[in-house]
């Protein structure tokens, strides 16, 4: 059994550590590229959402490198993500790939099927070992996100342009050479120190923009055309409405304090939306209201074309923008998104924000 899994931002780092710890062979899919997307687009239903197309590309590229079992998480609706596994399995079967697909569903009334699945993919390790590996992996998720946050803060402030980007790409190049969670955590700590010591300009007062929207497009840099780095290089401090660590904390941990805070944040946008409609639409609205309250300069929503929950959020956002005088832009991405047009829109949005800020400053 050689395991693989779909890409989603930097989630491959903790997942690799997890399986290393369990002693299960794992193939990390090659970074998402044009080829990945082309493979996925060719065999997926036309109207499927972008993440699924890329997932399929990942699987096939991993299979070429010897993987034979796919592990992915599931959910029980109403977002389409919950049924990815089944449709993907059908497609792969018709394409002639014999793959085992293991879907880790959130347990309903009976947790036994989930536990069985976990045992199956962990090479029947003892439970203490499995739990320890999971805990370490979730620690790595947090550390990786902390590192990303430092870089987001540094990018608009760095003295030498491009230094943060360079550090990041070096990190991504070398991190996969680590084996096991201990090595990984040490490696991340070293890079965090390096990131912290990137020299800053004193006078920098960058624009601050929040990124909200569908989680996959937000955290997978290939899909969002590396928006975090692009905005950073335009001199913007990026705040992320939802991160991989948030997802892990919400769904897989017992961090009650975080859950309470999350609930409080969600309740704050009650007059716009006060129930979960699937996906992360509620978080999108809540984060936008939160960012407007905390004085950010604007918000960008990103969603894959046809994403059902985010379309609802998209139709509510203009109202928030109107009522609070808070700039919001929506970007829809799909397999046809062109980089130049995308860049133009980002630049225009940033220009407008900086003009708005300048005006406010003059009036004051």
């Amino acid at each position: 059994m050689t395991i693989t899994f779909p890409h989603m931002g930097r989630i491959y780092i903790p997942v690799k550590a997890l399986f290393d710890d369990l002693g299960v062979p794992v193939v990390v899919p090659p970074p998402v590229s044009k080829r990945t997307l082309e493979i996925g687009t060719r065999i997926s239903p036309e109207m499927a959402c972008l993440p699924m197309k890329i997932n399929l590309g990942n699987y096939i590229e991993s299979m070429e490198r010897g993987a034979d079992t796919i592990v992915l998480t599931g959910s029980c609706g109403p977002c389409r993500f919950g049924y990815y596994g089944i449709v993907e399995q059908e497609i792969l079967r018709d394409q002639g790939y014999e793959m085992d697909v293991v879907i880790l569903d959130a347990p309903g009334r009976d947790p036994r099927p989930l536990l069985k699945q976990i045992q199956r993919i962990s090479g029947s390790s003892p439970w203490t070992k499995i739990i320890r590996a999971f805990l370490n992996a979730s620690k790595i998720v947090e550390r990786v996100d902390e590192l990303a946050d430092i870089l987001l803060r540094k990018r608009p402030r760095e003295l030498k342009r491009g230094e943060s980007d360079e550090l990041q790409s070096r990190f991504e190049r070398e991190v996969l050479k680590c084996r096991g969670s201990k090595e990984m955590l040490d490696f991340i700590a070293v890079f965090k120190e390096k990131a912290d010591s990137i020299p800053e300009r004193r006078d920098a007062s960058p624009l601050r923009i929040g990124l909200v929207g569908e989680i996959y497009t937000l955290i997978e840099p290939y899909v969002n055309l590396n928006i975090e780095n692009k905005l950073g290089s335009l001199g913007v401090e990026v705040h992320r409405g939802i991160t991989a660590a948030d997802w892990v904390k919400t769904h897989l941990s017992f961090d009650l304090k975080f859950k309470r805070e999350r609930k409080l944040k969600l309740k704050k946008c009650g007059n716009y939306l006060d129930l979960c409609i699937g996906g992360h639409a509620w978080e999108t609205i809540a984060s936008t209201v939160h960012y407007a309250d905390t004085g950010l300069d604007g918000v960008i929503q990103i969603l894959p074309f046809g994403c059902m929950p985010e379309i609802v959020a998209e139709s509510i956002l203009p109202a928030i923008s109107r009522e609070r005088g808070f700039p919001v832009m929506t970007l829809t991405v799909d397999e046809l998104t062109g980089e130049a047009g995308y860049m133009t829109r980002l630049e225009a949005f940033v220009d407008l924000l900086s003009q708005k800020k300048g005006k406010e400053y003059e009036q004051a």
Partner: protein
């Protein structure tokens, strides 16, 4: 109070429930017009671009009611069966309307959430009834009566009737809601007169969401067009829930979309029974659920059944002529296949056996 009900989305399925409920509470119910070009245009104009056609049309129906009513009913159908959903957009519908339709009157948001149990589903209706100022007993009574009506309606559909036919059959003089039934449905959806004809050429399965199948304007009158070619039609609503559940059990994970499940289950059971000579998948552009459901249906058909199948996608740009051409081509293909498929020419290449060599 004059309550407006938009004649869109799941109106065609739930109108007995909604209508009887509000009438029993002593309110006047006013329906939006049948879908027409103006409603479509208005909907497309005010709705976000990314939304699907039925959602845009719902927006149009809401604008159609503005100025004619005191309040507009916006159903929030979260879940209609335990542990299932419909679609995220249905859940967020009241918010979509509130923030994008300008100048709308009071919106009566009616929750329907049967996620934990069937009975719980009616709690939202009860709450709304009380908010409208009716006492506990009369709301309960109205709910009861409306629920019975709805159940009768579902039973009739499972027997194999088209909603319009059911309305016709319910045409007893003693019926209090008769005039409304006739007005609300029969006239628009285009009941194909030949649908139950005995000398039909066969049956075509029509798989799609109710808001596409039972709205003549959106679906370009497909029912009548098929009937005119001599075919009977089977709708997903004609399958019993047990059949749907049974057919879907071939997939290892429970489907959590009620309509997705119905479409898939009904499609599979139609194919398994070999009752149909062809299957048409009617979908609206950008429908997230159909993207998956149709994919599963097509793959299952390709692998096991080999029944003629086509997908027709509808959106606000769909032209009548292109639609007709595709429909005709499909029916021709289906008929030629049954006529010539087994004729193998002993003399080499023939297009089909009725003609000479090509």
């Amino acid at each position: 109070m004059k309550i407006g009900i938009p004649r869109a989305l799941l109106y065609s399925i739930y109108f007995p429930l909604w209508k009887v409920f509000f009438m029993e509470l002593g309110h006047e119910v006013i329906l939006s017009n049948h879908t027409n070009q103006e409603i479509l245009n208005n909907g497309v104009k005010i709705c976000v671009d990314d939304a699907c056609l039925p959602i845009k049309i719902f927006h149009g129906h809401v604008t159609d009611l503005i100025g004619r009513v005191d309040a507009i009913l916006i159903p929030r159908l979260i879940s209609i069966r335990p542990e299932e959903y419909i679609c995220p957009k249905f859940i967020g519908l009241p918010e979509m309307i509130r923030y994008s339709v300008p100048g709308s009157p009071e919106l009566l948001v009616m929750d329907y959430n049967a996620y934990s149990s069937e009975e719980k589903g009616y709690e939202g209706m009860y709450r709304l009834g009380r908010e409208l100022g009716s006492p506990h007993s009369s709301v309960k009574h109205a709910l009861n009566k409306a629920g019975l009506r709805q159940a009768a309606y579902f039973r009739e559909m499972e027997k194999g009737f088209h909603p319009m036919e059911i309305m016709k059959r319910m045409n007893h003089p003693s019926e209090r809601y008769n005039t409304w039934y006739k007005d609300s449905f029969c006239t628009n959806a285009g009941l194909p007169s030949k649908m139950s004809a005995k000398n039909s050429k066969g049956t075509i399965g029509l798989i799609g969401h109710p808001y596409l199948l039972y709205d003549r304007y959106i679906n370009m009158n497909i029912c009548n067009k098929l009937a005119a070619r001599g075919y009977k039609i089977r709708f997903p609503e004609n399958s019993t829930q047990e059949k749907v559940d049974g057919a879907c059990s071939r997939y290892p994970k429970k489907l959590f979309w009620s309509y997705g499940k119905r479409l898939l289950g009904a499609g599979l059971s139609m194919m398994e029974s070999r009752e149909i000579s062809g299957l048409i998948l009617l979908t609206s552009f950008g429908c997230g659920i159909d993207a998956f459901i149709d994919e599963l249906l097509i793959r299952a058909n390709h692998r096991e059944f080999g029944i003629p199948l086509t997908t027709i996608t509808l959106d606000e740009h769909t032209g009548q002529a292109g639609f007709d051409t595709r429909l005709e081509a499909f029916i021709d293909m289906m008929e030629w296949r049954s006529r010539y498929d087994n004729h193998i020419s002993p003399h080499g290449a023939h297009l089909y056996s009725g003609q000479g060599p090509v």
